[in-house]
Assembly symmetry: C3
Homo-oligomer: 316 residues x 3
């Protein structure tokens, strides 16, 4: 898509040399043929160092745009980004893609739907009513139980087990909201990448990234009814117990243990080997590894135990 066409969609002034743009991305990840956006002065540093070919930007931040980058000046850059995201959304299915490639020894139920353009490895078992979207990739020896949905473009490693009624790669929860309170969808054009030896329970939701990938790394264990928001990264061998979850863009180190019904706010960084007791509510970064936490607000587990004794004393 031409940058001039984008300027026209966003109703921006157009007085720059035209280039081809083939995607949208975050400031720090964007390449020269991508367009990015900024809505908040918190990210001034990221504007200054971006490699994006163009940035959607409000007038108040335009001075920070680097010389080699086109500023697309709009009133509400988040709303404009939402409008533009639709133009980069690929079709849900694409009949022109070649038929799915199925590896040797894989058993695919005749009642599964394997979309064109997908690739399944060797010795997989794909049961009835599974949906594998177009251009999805599944490794070897992976078992996918009935009624699982793997959305387009998502990758699942080898030796994985995905239990029934789980959704891998549904859209992340992203929208812009106008001053009048109306919402505009931000198309989630990223994907989900799941490493090898991962087991995911039933009725789990792992959302696709808005840009880039939501990542579930090697050896992770996810129990039932867990929510993994868009653009999270779950470190190797981490464990999510049932009904826990994470908002978007939170990154966990390896071997983090997340107790039942616990939840992370978005955009956090969690040190490896952290343990969270059941129903923890984590709203801040954890920088020191190997500790155990509880409660909401969160505190070290031993402090939480003490605090409960103090609170119980209020009754006396």
């Amino acid at each position: 898509m031409k940058l001039s066409a984008i300027a026209s969609i966003l109703e921006c002034e157009y007085d720059f040399k035209d280039i081809e743009i083939n995607g949208m991305n975050a400031l720090q990840d964007a390449e020269v043929n991508e367009v990015s956006f900024v809505a908040n002065s918190k990210y001034i540093k990221d504007i200054q160092t971006t490699k994006a070919g163009a940035v959607i930007v409000p007038a108040s931040l335009v001075e920070h745009i680097p010389n080699n980058c086109v500023a697309l000046v709009v009133e509400d850059s988040y709303w404009s980004m939402a409008i533009l995201s639709k133009y980069f959304a690929p079709p849900i299915e694409n009949e022109e893609l070649p038929g799915a490639l199925i590896g040797e020894g894989s058993k695919i139920s005749s009642k599964a739907e394997i979309a064109n353009g997908s690739r399944i490895g060797k010795n997989c078992t794909i049961l009835a009513h599974v949906y594998i979207g177009c251009e999805a990739v599944i490794g070897n020896n992976t078992i996918i139980y009935p009624n699982v949905t793997v959305y387009r473009d998502c990758h699942i490693g080898s030796d994985c087990i995905i239990h029934s009624n789980t959704a891998i790669g549904a859209d992340g929860f992203g929208f812009a909201t106008s001053a009048q309170g109306e919402h505009k969808k931000i198309y989630q054009n990223g994907n989900v990448v799941i490493g090898d030896d991962v087991e995911i329970g039933s009725n789990v939701s792992v959302d696709r990234a808005v840009f880039g990938s939501t990542r579930i790394n090697k050896g992770v264990r996810i129990d039932n009814l867990v929510q993994i928001g868009h653009n999270c990264e779950i470190g190797e061998y981490s464990v999510f117990v049932a009904q826990s979850g994470s908002a978007g863009s939170t990154k966990l180190g390896r071997n983090v243990v997340v107790g039942g019904q616990s939840a992370f706010a978005g955009h956090l960084e969690i040190a490896p080997f952290s343990t969270f007791a059941a129903r923890s509510g984590i709203t801040k970064n954890i920088t020191k590894s190997g500790l155990t936490f509880s409660g909401f607000p969160l505190m070290e587990h031993k402090l939480w135990l003490k605090l409960q004794v103090k609170i119980a004393r209020l009754l006396k």
Copy 2:
């Protein structure tokens, strides 16, 4: 169904002029050809003004029944209502209905099941393993991802997106319990009505109403793993973050924001533009709009922040 037949099912005395009854409804919504019920003296005012043709009532409340309404006097009116509800439950599927009507430009997977008597608008995309129940109605341009179930009689508007493994219109959680602790199902003969431009995430449960409709109004955004109980009404442009929920019959104004893992008790009224932080527990009506709340018990967010400081001081 004749009122005399109903009296016979409920083992009531029968000494009134017979009429045709074609449904059950709440006291305040019932019409002359419907039967209602009352189990609790809280609702005396609603008895006095009901237009129902007949009311199932315990002897202790029979004096409040208006003159033009037949009293069906029973021992346990809630239990009797549960018994009767089964007789008004339509069949799950009905092969005698005409084949589904599919609008121009809609793509329906051959692996979807579109029951007889349903109607799908124009330019919809219905993916594999979707189930659309009989007499369900879908608007135009709506996308329904794999493994979604839309139960019979439910309506979904135009320009909606329903993500995988979501259930629209399963039975609300309703039953009567005997003195011995046994449960009797209350058949949920209402439906779900979803407005235009609604997006619902994966693994969401929106229950059908016992009578009337559960309503998700225009522009609402629902994240993954959310529970919407029977007979709720979710106001325009409201937002439910992942793993939140509402018990039955709660009504939200427009642009209410419900944080992750928050929940509403049943039968509440929530003012528009209310915001609830993650894990709020809302058990009372909110009458003033535009405020932000936290905690369980719920309080204004700024108070909750203060309180956490006070609680932390107990440790000193």
Copy 3:
């Protein structure tokens, strides 16, 4: 499988009379032709009384193994048990089994998958995109809504209703973890047994047992998005409100009421007729029946109400 082969898999010394072993089981449930394991000195009593033909045991506990039982001495008995569990896992499907038996009057959608070796009773309704695994057994008059998965070997009683997108019998959340933090799956070779007159909502996860059965007894009512861990037993007529759950091996008496978003820790015993308010966190046994509880930490509901008043006073 020969015990000598098991010793070889686990790299144990082999100096005993060989016997045929046909399964794994818990110490207290194992029969003479089964192998069990122990990892913890808490269970010394259970070792001494086990009827197991062999027990996987660390050197530190080998002295407690009874005379008629073979000790399979390993370094990490939990890890070894995980390794062995895979050898007793039956195939997911088995085409050599006879075709499913369908009782008179049952309506099975042509888009449902009913695996070989399963048995469906009379007058059942099985809708599209349902999966009934091999050797599963369904009673009479049971309704299974679209996109439900019933895994192999699971039993569902008569007069049950299972709502859409629910998973019955997915693997319990079981694995051993090495000192390096790697996980090894413990194959869940038990099943789920659901009694008569049970209703289960949409998007529910009921996990199969590691050994033996997860049991949902007669008359239970389970709302949407509920988690029932492996080896739980839910007493007759108990009620789980939406988004509540239980970790593994917890046993509830009859008519326990579990409020929305409440959860039980594992391995608890809960007295009959207990009631838990919404969002209760239950981490200890409840021995006295008929009481109402709230909070996390849990306390009697009337105490919890008092405590909230005291806590609110901190703000003054």
